[in-house]
Symmetry: C2
Subunit: 300 residues, 2 copies
Amino acid sequence: MENIKNIASVFSELQAEICHNLELADGKAHFGSDKWKKEIGGGITRVIQDGNVIEKGAVNFSFVEGKLSERMEAVLGEKADNYAATGISSILHAKNPWVPTIHMNVRYFALDNGVSWFGGGIDLTPSIIVPEEARWFHEQLNEICDRSHPDYYSRFKKWADDYYFLPHRNETRGVGGIFFDRLKPDEDVDFEQLFGFVVAQAKSYPLIYSEFMKNSEKPYTEREKRWQSIRRGRYVEFNLVNDRGTKFGLESNGNTESILVSMPANASWEYNFSPEPGSQEEKTQELLKKDINWIGFKTN
Amino acid sequence: MENIKNIASVFSELQAEICHNLELADGKAHFGSDKWKKEIGGGITRVIQDGNVIEKGAVNFSFVEGKLSERMEAVLGEKADNYAATGISSILHAKNPWVPTIHMNVRYFALDNGVSWFGGGIDLTPSIIVPEEARWFHEQLNEICDRSHPDYYSRFKKWADDYYFLPHRNETRGVGGIFFDRLKPDEDVDFEQLFGFVVAQAKSYPLIYSEFMKNSEKPYTEREKRWQSIRRGRYVEFNLVNDRGTKFGLESNGNTESILVSMPANASWEYNFSPEPGSQEEKTQELLKKDINWIGFKTN
């Protein structure tokens, strides 16, 4: 478990770099910085609000450790006395409905029985899906993955499709991305390479999002704003009903304001809302499916 | 299990009566009526929107039956082949922040091993707590309870305090009310009396709420509206994170639109929001606690 301190220190620097790059792209708002400390550890919650582009967002760093509870042992299928975990978790919501919501997480989890692993991912949730943009996003992830292992993109893309899914709505949260957990060194990828992959993902995150932030120049209508608010309702549903990280955080007496800073500034629910036939909203709804090959998507 | 059909038919009539009385009090909007049918049964979802007073609300009736799964057996601590359940569930959200959100539920659950019970309750969630109003509300519930059993109010009031609680916020959802489950006939209260208690509760619901709807005459500020939206965020958190009924409905492949019609029209989340010292919002925050004796509350 001793190398987790080095990893945490790299993550902490990455947090600063991500915030800096996002501030540059936004051009107005700045990230605040709230240090918190609880019995299980601490972190820095960095929140941005009311920017030119970003309406509400956060880049959180944390480093926690503690006794492994019986429940955690059962969930993890591991026997150990203590665990330590460090990670960065970020969500950005933009004002303009043409700028998607994005989420990124990198994490390292270590047990004192010698077992440890990386987890993480990036995924994109547009209010209105523009297939060319979804393709471009997946191309970026594909490239980052390919630098580490030829199988990573296809494995982690499928994992994201399965994870970012709302069974009660029978729809994906957005256009997916990559998701991975329990990633350990093996004969193909050693520890340093794995760490490098995770760092590369975190570094690319603000650069990828900066491209999407350019959409904030695009004018939008009241109708598109209303649709964004409904889609944000689904985002809230996913985070509160389906997301394991949020559940774990709330149940394990984590820092509630830091965990729920992922919530959008606003969300709405309309009973039985259904988009007009043939509308861009309906087309978006039809694309909220697993297993779409975005990179090969024909956009005529 | 045979008498459940009679109970369902009374509940179905009560649904119509509740909707009728609420329409009279609102004076503008009418409840729609959507019949739904799934493998497990069916129901009538009645939704009201954009009224004079009520912004969004629903009064739902359902009657479902099916095989008792192993998981349900474990949860209920009962062995049986089949179950049947019927109930009314209602939530009303008003536009004006001085008109509280209210929730009411009555239900009957029967197993083919001969075991059956009633459950239900009414609870109130004001955006801004007015202690006199909370006291009046609890007095009404106390009266309904006392007609059936002298212990009911104190038992069910405590149950509501414990149930309508958000551990991750360390606050109650609102000013509570009554909540009960697994209520069976005993030496004090026979089946007909129990059924009568549940019916009385459902009948009083629109009458009690009509009193609160009169607050819609009261002017309100932008600040109060913003606070309402934040409080609605907590309501969403409770329903999606803590409410057993919502969880059970979503997991058991229920009718998602009917279940989540409980969501407010809008909700918002602001990071680390804290009300101004001495403000009515801060006073409300301080009253979101269990075990407040509302009936004996000194309001000088």
